[in-house]
């Protein structure tokens, strides 16, 4: 009836791992898809705190009054968007290979929240400037014509939209925050497909949901039967200012 507390013993074994001179930062690349798209950034942070305990990682704890593991996430993802390129930096204070860290974490995760890579980071999160997205919209009236109109709408400045910021709501032109966009009609799936690259820096961030809003407001997309229409957003990559790979 009582399972031997195997992992706690393993925890003790961690103490036999060689100590590092100073804490080492390891970057985790993970996907957050399916059900996990509805989990907020704050909840994701708490989840990782627990996952790290379960995985018995030699994480470095802050030395303050309330010791906690230091977790730093890259550009937050809004609720309702999926991603295959989220990043999290953790710090460890004992030797463990990136491969082992990845394996241990994945043992405590599900397919929808899954570490795809672990490595020693080369870039700083502040270097992130662009994010690419794939979107798919199933709506009444989707056809080549609508795709053309959408393409025109998303490429001609100004396209004014209300943006909610910390200081309140204001109207902004979103076109300068769109680096590239291409809208097509998928005949087989009867959907609109959008591929785009949007601003994703800490100072200028365009929520991909805004593109959907623009299409709703200007082209009447998704104004039919709510029980039939749907859309999905998938973040596919994060890039530096010169569009080179973020690592």
């Amino acid at each position: 009836m009582l399972p031997e507390s195997q992992k706690l013993i393993e925890k003790k074994r961690l103490k036999s791992l060689p100590e590092l001179e100073r804490p080492l930062t390891v970057r985790l690349k993970f996907r957050k898809i399916g059900s996990l798209q509805y989990i907020s950034h704050l909840d994701l942070q708490r989840t990782f705190n627990r996952v790290i305990v379960r995985a018995c990682l030699p994480v470095w704890y802050t030395k303050g009054f309330n010791p906690h593991a230091k977790l730093v996430f890259s550009t937050p993802l809004s609720v309702g968007a999926q991603s295959v390129c989220e990043y999290l930096d953790i710090r460890i204070d004992r030797e463990m290979s990136c491969e082992e860290i990845k394996e241990r974490l994945n043992g405590e995760l599900t397919n929808e929240l899954f570490i795809t890579d672990a490595y020693i980071p080369k870039n700083d999160f502040s270097e992130i400037a662009w994010a690419s997205y794939d979107m798919e919209i199933y709506t009444d009236g989707a056809d080549d014509e609508m795709a053309k109109n959408a393409q025109a709408l998303l490429t001609s400045s100004p396209l004014m939209l209300v943006k909610r910021t910390k200081s309140g709501e204001k109207e902004v032109d979103i076109i300068p925050m769109i680096s590239s966009v291409s809208v097509s009609f998928d005949d087989e799936r009867q959907t609109l497909k959008i591929k785009c690259v949007l601003s994703a820096s800490s100072t200028e961030y365009l929520n991909p949901e805004m593109l959907i809003t623009a299409l709703k407001q200007n082209l009447g997309v998704m104004s039919g039967d709510p029980a039939l229409e749907w859309y999905t957003i998938m973040r596919t990559d994060l890039m530096k200012k010169d569009m080179s790979e973020f690592k």
């Binding site: 399972p3 992992k7 989990i39 989840t47 996952v51 305990v53 379960r54 309702g80 599900t110």
Partner: protein, 619 residues
């Protein structure tokens, strides 16, 4: 995930409650299971996911290879609207399948105010509310939990109830179901009869006819079969060390009410406070050993990654080996940055040594429950706590630099006078005085005492089960009077909504004649009545009135001592004679020693049990 649901979730509040996919959830192959069980918690995900009983029973049922138990919660109002708009039925978390397709649906009845949610969920599932309207092709609807001890107000909606602890009963019910299906002799009626006949603790309400007297009281309960029990006896787990323990937990991604390890230390309570139902129905006291608890705590810590362990039970300081247990736990919790918390501390057991061990002290506030303002009334309710105990306890806290204390009281207790209410205000002042007399107090801060006063609700299976609840007018006057007695701004006074307490009293002591009112409430969209923003007293009065029900008959009437009570059909292990004796002692302002000091012959020892404090516990 279904694209339609996916889009709905983009437009509702806290969609993480509906998306599922949690780590630790149990997924089985539909084609290989023989019974699918939907375990419903009739409230929000955040509350339901925190319930220890659900965690245990989810594990117990899924241990059966051919049974798949899934979780279901009541969607919040905005989600319900979307579901109706899209024509979506209530679905289970794991598979996303409609629960109307399941073999069995179980509801845990934790509080009376969740009854409307039960009906709301049946309605969302597209199932007929009344048991008699559900045919053999529909799921069996099962109720359990503390409110099942008097579930008469909802009896007409359920096929059967589990009375007592469900760890053995639920798997037995599933096994019987599978067996009868396999043998091709399943009909709902045959199944219910066999369950009532062969499984202890099963109450099938439709098998008992109820007749009433001219004055509205109950005349008799008559079983319709000779081979079913005349009174249904509750089930307990006798050896808690051997009781199933969930070593895997479904981990919520979103924040829930109790986001921590909950370690169940023992069941039952030695105290016998005369208003407390939990203290009676969970008897006898059955402890786990510290060695087993320590192993279970380690296991849960590793399975969850939580950074807090809460030792749960009705009164944690009454655990005989608390010292040993906390020492064992602290040996590894500190190293792993895990903190301990001990809710439900009694003032007479709160010591500096204990405070140093626990995390409750990290938060700046401490909570105690003297329940009544004078020694006389505390003796009436058998609280067995003295003012000196409270002052000593707050002193320990003040010496350690705390400056805020929260005190829980009840208003409307039997024999209560305005003198007793004034006593509440006086007690709060004495706590303030104690602060200023404490030499090592935190001199930079002012003390803050919060007194929270709830309304007494007479509950079945307590010595006060016959008592009348104060009328709304009396409760309001008392609340106002107490408010007028508090002049010190360092004392904050809050009180419960008497209107909720009154409806709760009606449901707690109600009988089967309440069913039409609950069905009407469901039809009119009642849900989440335990939530202030959803509860509407006037609507409740209207529903009761239209069904010809006088709430005062159930809430404000003193039930006759020789009257047949709606819950007499259940044997909770504690005898009616004991409740009568305790009631007489209450009116005589006499206390009863706790179970450990002296046995007061409540009868629960007949249930048996390992590591109980009952001198004559049968094994």
């Amino acid at each position: 995930m279904n694209k339609q649901i996916s889009t709905i979730l983009k437009s509702v509040s806290k969609p993480g409650r509906y998306s599922g996919g949690e780590y630790g959830q149990i997924i089985k192959d539909k084609s290989k299971v023989k019974a699918r069980f939907a375990f419903c918690f009739p409230d929000t995900y955040e509350i339901g996911m925190s319930n220890l009983g659900v965690r245990i029973l989810y594990g117990v049922l899924n241990k059966e290879e051919d049974v798949w138990c899934e979780r279901v919660y009541d969607p919040w109002i905005d989600m319900q609207e979307k579901m109706r708009e899209h024509g979506l039925p209530l679905c289970a978390c794991e598979s996303g399948d409609p629960i109307s397709e399941f073999d069995m649906i179980g509801f845990t009845l934790q509080y009376e105010m969740s009854y409307t949610n039960v009906l709301n969920m049946l309605e969302l599932a597209g199932l007929p509310l009344y048991a008699k309207d559900r045919d053999d092709s529909m799921p069996i609807i099962i109720g359990g939990g503390p409110c099942a001890y008097n579930a008469e107000p909802v009896a007409d909606f359920f096929d059967l109830f589990n009375i007592g602890e469900g760890e053995e009963m639920l798997p037995e019910l599933c096994r019987l179901y599978i067996k009868m299906k396999d043998e091709g002799r399943y009909t709902k009626q045959a199944y219910l009869h066999e369950a009532a006949r062969t499984i202890e603790g099963i109450y099938v309400p439709s098998f008992y006819d109820v007749t009433y007297n001219d004055d509205g009281t109950i005349n008799a309960y008559t079983p319709i079969y000779d081979d079913i029990p005349k009174q249904v006896k509750k089930r307990i787990m006798t050896d808690m060390d051997k009781a199933y323990f969930p070593d895997k937990v479904v981990m919520p991604y979103i924040e829930t009410v109790h986001d921590r390890v909950m370690l169940e230390v023992y069941r039952g309570c030695i105290r016998g406070c005369r208003f407390c139902q939990a203290g009676m129905i969970y008897r006898p006291v059955r402890e786990k050993t510290p060695e087993v608890l320590n192993e279970q705590a380690k296991c849960l810590y590793q399975a969850t990654g939580y950074d807090e362990i809460s030792l749960t039970s009705l009164s944690i300081s009454d655990y005989t080996q608390l010292e040993e247990l906390t020492d064992m736990l602290l040996e590894w919790t500190n190293d792993n940055m895990v903190s301990l918390s001990l809710p439900s501390l009694r003032v007479d057991s709160f010591t500096k040594e204990l405070m140093d061990k626990i995390a409750t002290v990290r938060s700046s506030s401490l909570t105690f429950a003297p329940e009544a303002g004078t020694q006389r009334l505390r003796d009436v309710i058998n609280k067995n706590v003295k003012e000196d105990d409270l002052l000593r306890a707050v002193n320990v806290a003040f010496e350690a630099g705390k400056n805020t204390v929260k005190l829980y009281f009840m208003s409307g207790l039997p024999t209560e006078t305005y003198e007793d209410l004034k006593g509440i205000a006086d007690l709060a002042s004495h706590v303030i005085d104690a602060y200023y007399q404490c030499p090592t107090r935190n001199k930079g801060k002012k003390p803050q005492v919060t007194i929270s006063v709830s309304c007494f609700i007479p509950k079945p299976f307590t010595p006060f089960q016959w008592e009348a609840q104060d009328t709304m007018e009396m409760l309001a006057e008392k609340q106002e009077y107490l408010g007028s007695q508090i002049t010190d701004r360092k004392i904050r006074y809050t009180h419960h909504d008497a209107r909720v307490s009154r409806i709760e009293a009606v449901l707690a002591r109600g009988d089967r004649r309440l069913a039409p009112a609950l069905a009407l409430a469901c039809k009119e969209g009642f849900a989440f009545d335990a939530w202030d923003e959803c509860f509407d007293y006037d609507k409740w009065l209207s529903v009761l009135e239209r069904c010809g029900i006088d709430p005062a008959f159930y809430a404000n009437r003193a039930f006759g001592l020789d009257e047949v009570l709606p819950w007499d059909i259940i044997d909770c292990g504690v005898s009616k004679e004991f409740f009568l004796r305790e009631r007489a002692k209450a009116y005589g302002e006499r206390t009863t020693p706790n179970c450990r000091e002296q046995c007061s012959g409540c009868g629960a020892n007949k249930m048996g049990g390992e590591r109980t404090c009952c001198p004559k516990a049968k094994n």
